[in-house]
Amino acid sequence: MNKISVIIKREYITRVRKKSFIIMTILAPLLFASLVIVIPIMMTTGDKDFKKIAVIDDGSALFVNVIPDLKDADFEYLKGKKVGDLKNSFEKDGYYGILYISSQLITTPNAIQLISKKQPPIGLLDHISNSLEKEIERQKLLSYNIENLDEILKDIRTNVSIQTIKIDETGQTTETSTGISMVLAYIGGFLMYILVFIFGTQVMRGVIEEKTSRVVEVIVSSVRPVQLMMGKIIGIALVGLTQLMIWVVIFGISVTVVKTTVLKEKNSTEITQNIPQDLMTQGQQTINVEQAQELTPQLAEISKIFDNAMNQNWPLIIFAFLFYFISGYLLYASVFAAIGSAVDNETETQQFMMPITIPIILALMVAMGTMQNPESSIAFWFSMIPFTSPIVMMARIPFEVPAWQIALSMGLMVVTFIGFVWMAAKIYRTGILMYGKKTSWKEMWKWLRYSA
């Protein structure tokens, strides 16, 4: 036991002292933060190029100025021009493209063309067709000669934004956000994937390093091979946990800082009460205005996201993450250790990597699908199978999973990783002292049954 701790200590200290560890620990949250900030900015601003589009028709003047200008696109109606007049010169005249609308459009949906040098963005096309559909709808309605049509239309125009409110056995309600759950599911599943894979392969590299440098022979003359393997696996697990803890602390600090300085505290229950009454008639915008007595609309929105995020079951999420990280890591790390012991160098690992990566990738794909439907049977089964459960279960938990399912999944996980650690130890024991032999799965199966 004493010797195992010497090994754990070495594995831990040599890794934590590495520059790459320090850089990763600091850089990863920065990268993550920049993603969180940069992606929404990119999505809202989109294409920065300003487009001027010439709109012409066949002289019917049915669709004059019906397409509203966008932030990044203007629509200019050129009366009496023909496509042929502009076709060769529109770019020189500063136009992005020519939109030709035929009067037939009311009856023929494809009697419209956008001529441009480049492939136009989807957003632009959507905007054009939406505006025209609305206009045609309006014109058709007009043809029925209904009185006060404009007022009626204004009145029936509504926006719907669903507020999801969860109710538990005691009747207490909390406002939740499926969006937040999705983000958490995504982060949880993905982070699990990355961590298990990174630290699992670190175990494999360590084993190969010891084998190729022949250090292993010296060590196993002092300690049992199983002790060396477990020492390495545990040492690297502690490195992983250290990194996670640092990230959690960084995350926690930045959340509190943001919440106390930028957002201050705002009574969120007030908002929740406003919603049901206002929802039907006034829609989202009115509410925002009311909330904004103290905060600007965007900040209010962010503040709400924060409140929603806080309503998640954090203790469960953190506990489950730690549990699945440790058990999933142990499961994969032991397989990685066995593979590392069986090969002579890293290039030889490839034939063994495939069968390992497949369940991980599969789990990741199922996890992404899980967000659409966390209760589906595929999500259920993949969150039970130990090779995929760490990733899939982390994606399901933000959507609430019955306790028995979590317990069953964790139980299966424990049983499986114990079994795998045991098998890996047997393969490892033989493998680390085998050189120059091309190892196959069959060979490893044979080693499993050797006596010490």
Binding site: K3, V6, I7, R10, T14, E209, E210, S213, R214, V215, V216, E217, V218, I219, V220, S221, S222, V223, R224, P225, L433, K446, Y450, S451, A452
Partner: protein, 302 residues
């Protein structure tokens, strides 16, 4: 009494037999050579002695008691393929290995200081292993092997990779360790070092022991019917029915002659037949080198 004994060790890997009923008995304070061609099973035997792998059958005794896992602390092992962590610093690494052998950090440091000074390695302490030359790395490993002052030392090819100066240093250290009471088993292909260092040997070929005993006795036994004689002055032996002349030469006023006697001819017969040829300076049975014996034994078995 022997310090270490292995009785009837058999080890199989699948259908391949690596060791077949091999026994060795190593007296205390003896330097014991483990010889054999490549793939004979030496390394497997050494690994079994180090309890890296277990035998399928057979028993191991240290000091007359069955070998237990705890005995690794009284054994020091220098494997044939030297291995150190390349990115780790020399000093830290030496301390690490010592700790794995059961020394406390403090004690390890104390002894390392002594050895680093003795072998002129003090400057290497803070360097990474990859910055050292191969020979330097081997020296580091040699120290980590002997640091916990084991009673039984096992060296697998200890001299490969050393320049003559360092090989000599290591040889002297091995002799010094024996003086201080250590018993040494070493495997080698270098027959010169066997004649120089080993008291006893075992020759293993194809998983079986084919020759064992003290080096001197083995050489005498294999001396057979060849003799080396030296005469003063230029002497030419006449051909005779008692012997065949293998080699004659005259150098530095001395004639050196190698004879092979015919069967049933005793040493006395030979001496009588040559004594009148000139003034005889020396007459010795020609001791074959371990190298010759090795080759002859192994080839006769193949």
């Amino acid at each position: 009494m022997s310090l270490f004994e292995a009785r009837n060790i058999t080890k199989q890997f699948g259908s391949f037999t690596a060791l077949d009923q091999v026994s060795i008995s190593v007296p205390e304070k003896c330097i014991y050579g483990l010889l054999g061609p490549n793939g004979a099973g030496k390394t497997t035997l050494i690994r079994i002695i180090n309890q890296i792998t277990g035998p399928d059958s057979g028993e191991l005794f240290l000091n007359g008691k069955k070998l237990t896992p705890r005995d690794v602390q009284t054994i020091g092992y220098l494997p044939e393929e030297r291995g150190l962590y390349k990115k780790m610093k020399v000093g830290e690494q030496a301390v690490y290995f010592a700790q794995l052998k059961g020394l406390t950090k403090h004690e390890a440091m104390r002894r390392l200081r002594y050895w680093f000074k003795k072998l002129d390695m003090v400057d290497w302490w803070g360097k990474k292993v990859e910055e050292l030359s191969k020979g330097m790395q081997q020296k580091v490993q040699f120290i980590t092997t002997i640091l916990h002052e084991p009673k039984l030392l096992i060296f697998d090819e200890p001299f490969t990779g050393f320049d003559p100066v360092n090989a000599n240093t290591i040889k002297n250290e091995i002799l010094f360790l024996r003086e201080r009471g250590a018993t040494i088993i070493f495997s080698t292909h270098n027959m010169g070092s066997v004649e120089e260092l080993c008291d006893n040997i075992t020759l293993i070929n194809k998983a079986k022991t084919i020759l064992e005993g003290s080096v001197n006795e083995i050489r005498k036994k294999w001396a057979g019917s060849e003799y080396d004689l030296v005469f003063n002055g230029n002497v030419k032996l006449e051909p005779s029915s008692h012997y065949k002349i293998l080699n004659q030469q005259f150098e530095n006023e001395k004639s050196t002659i190698k004879l092979k006697t015919e069967t049933n001819i005793t040493t006395n017969d030979i001496i009588q037949s040559i004594i009148k040829s000139g003034s005889l300076v020396s007459f010795n049975p020609a001791l074959p080198s371990m190298n010759e014996i090795f080759i002859r034994v192994v080839e006769s078995r193949n």
